[in-house]
Amino acid sequence: MPAVLARDLWKEYGRVVALRSVDVEVDRGELVAILGPNGAGKSTFIKIVCGVTKPTRGEIRVLGGDPSDPDVKRRVSIVPQQGGLYLEQTVRENVRFYAKLYGVEPDEEPFELLEVHRYMDRRVEHLSGGMRKRAAVALALALRPEILVLDEPTNELDPTARQDVIEAVREYNESGTTVLYVSHDVHEVEQLEPDRVLIFLEGRKALDEPFDRLMSEHGSVLDAYRAVAAQVVGE
């Protein structure tokens, strides 16, 4: 049973078509990078995977179930683009709150791994953008998810912090967590070295290739991206 199975997935917002017949299969334990420009449909795709919204048409199964089912949601955690933390509370209070909603005892390890433990008792509003992002990633990992979804988690991060986040994500992926990593930065994807790269363009899955093959065929993620974009424009 795959971690994520999407068949002929469509999402429409009125006249705007955000996803057009997308087929994706993600195996358990895979690390998949989802790349694309703004408005390409990648965030819409993960919104469906996380059960935030439903597709207009098509089939979506997450861990074999309906992603909007609370039992499935409990096994998936997300790092939203904006972090998803309450500003007026400390990091620890945020962790307790989300852990209560997910019904889990939070894992302390990610906070040490991402060096968040030093400011667990500081209010989020007093933290820098980078510290908040680290805290948000650590929190998502602390919920012991089977699938971790990260929506552009390294925005606002300096190179060191970005490397730390990527290493933490890789470490958890190696221990069995399935990871969907959304980004619009080709260099970040190269740094991540995922198992597979999906490129979304204009609501379609324009490319779905193992990272190694992509690198050997195109030399870089940027060249692969350019080739795919040119092909889509040609069509």
Binding site: Y13, V52, V76, I78, P80, Q81, G83, E88, F97
Partner: protein, 371 residues
């Protein structure tokens, strides 16, 4: 029971936030003290009255009455034009011209419509003084006629009616405008924070990605709504309780504070529903604030909380029947001053609460599409 987790988080966050707590506890006190200072008694404290006399003393009862009144300051003018100019420029609220031949020739009372309180006060004083004068003249005429009447072989059936045949009673004596204002203020304070507070909180959550995380969490959207509803209603009750306690400390007449508090709680709950509805409709914080303000300000002024709706025109009274704030104010006043919980008011408020919450919940669930 995820709504409990949401409500508990919100409550804890509120209690731990010193700035929010300071505002929660000090604002109602400041508002009450200001209201007490400004509106304890709505009679004007000082009114300028321009006066021009060409009469031969027949207007004395009126002028004497105005002179005795410590709120009235008389300005003697030399011409009708000067008197009217003073009113037009706002230097006097009323110009009184007593012409020669008064009262056979009518006096002129020229008043400033932009100062209804002041001018109405002076008009009532003038009319009352003149009515008193007429009544006492009648009385003395009757007295002078009495010997003549006694000498008549057949006495005409003359019966002078009592000058004041009314015995005025009220369930609550000596109410000031401040007392009238308090019940409305208590429910309004409970409700307003709920409307704006919930909208702001929801918009902040959308902007911080918290809404996204909550929609992705293993809870139902309605749990979020219920949790928020409980928290906001609790704080509405706290604000209402503060207003009631401060008002009592300032000597306001609240004969049934517990009933007033209950109406305040229901009002807060109703307006939480409206806040949820407005915020879910607006989708962005600045739009939510503008829309909420646009809806609530007319609601407030057409609620009868500041002025009874009996003084409003027909269209405003008709609007009041679909205005939840009217029912809040009406229920609060009856509860606080008469000890009567009006079932109509309460049922209408309950209906609004359920309607707002149901519509707000449906719209809140749609927010997920635009995250």
């Amino acid at each position: 029971m995820s709504w409990r987790a949401i409500a508990a988080r919100d409550l804890k966050a509120w209690v731990k936030d010193r700035r929010r707590m300071t505002v929660t506890f000090t604002m109602p006190v400041i508002v009450m003290i200001m209201m007490y200072g400004a509106f304890y008694d709505v009679n004007p404290t000082s009114v300028n009255v321009a006066i021009l006399r060409h009469d031969s003393g027949s207007g004395d009862p009126i002028v004497d009455q105005l002179k005795r009144d410590h709120r009235v300051h008389l300005i003697h003018v030399k011409s009708v034009r000067e008197g009217r100019d003073l009113v037009r420029r706002g230097s006097a609220s009323v110009f009184l011209y007593l012409p020669s031949g008064f009262p056979d020739r009518k006096a002129e009372v020229y008043y400033d419509p932009t100062d209804p309180m002041g001018s109405r006060y002076v008009l009532s004083k003038i009319q009352r003084a003149w009515a008193k004068h007429v009544a006492s003249s009648l009385k003395s005429s009757m007295k002078r006629l009495a010997p003549v009447l006694r000498m008549m072989p057949v006495r005409p059936a003359v019966h002078a009616p009592r000058f004041n045949p009314f015995h005025v009673r009220t369930p609550v004596k000596g109410l000031k405008y401040f007392d009238y204002l308090i019940p409305g203020l208590a429910v309004m304070t409970a409700a307003m924070g709920s409307i704006f507070g919930l909208g702001r909180l929801m918009m902040e959550e959308i902007e911080l990605g918290v809404s996204y995380a909550l929609f992705a969490a293993p809870i139902r959207a309605r749990d979020v709504v219920i949790g928020r509803f409980v928290n906001m209603t609790v704080w509405g009750c706290v604000r209402c309780a503060i207003i009631v306690l401060v008002a009592l400390a300032l000597g306001a007449k609240i004969l049934h504070p517990i009933l007033l508090f209950l109406v305040g709680a229901l009002s807060a709950a109703t307006m939480v529903g409206l806040g949820l509805l407005m915020a879910s409709l607006a989708g962005r914080s600045e739009v939510a604030e503008m829309a909420t303000g646009t809806v609530t300000i007319p609601m407030m002024f057409l609620s009868g909380i500041f002025m009874p709706i009996s003084v409003m025109p027909g269209w405003a009274r008709a609007l009041a029947t679909i205005n939840p704030m009217y029912y809040m104010g009406d229920a609060a006043r009856k509860a606080a001053l008469l000890g009567y919980l009006d079932p109509v008011d309460l049922l209408v408020l309950l209906g609004f609460m359920v309607g707002f919450l149901a519509a707000g919940s449906v719209l809140y669930d749609r927010v997920r599409e635009y995250l």
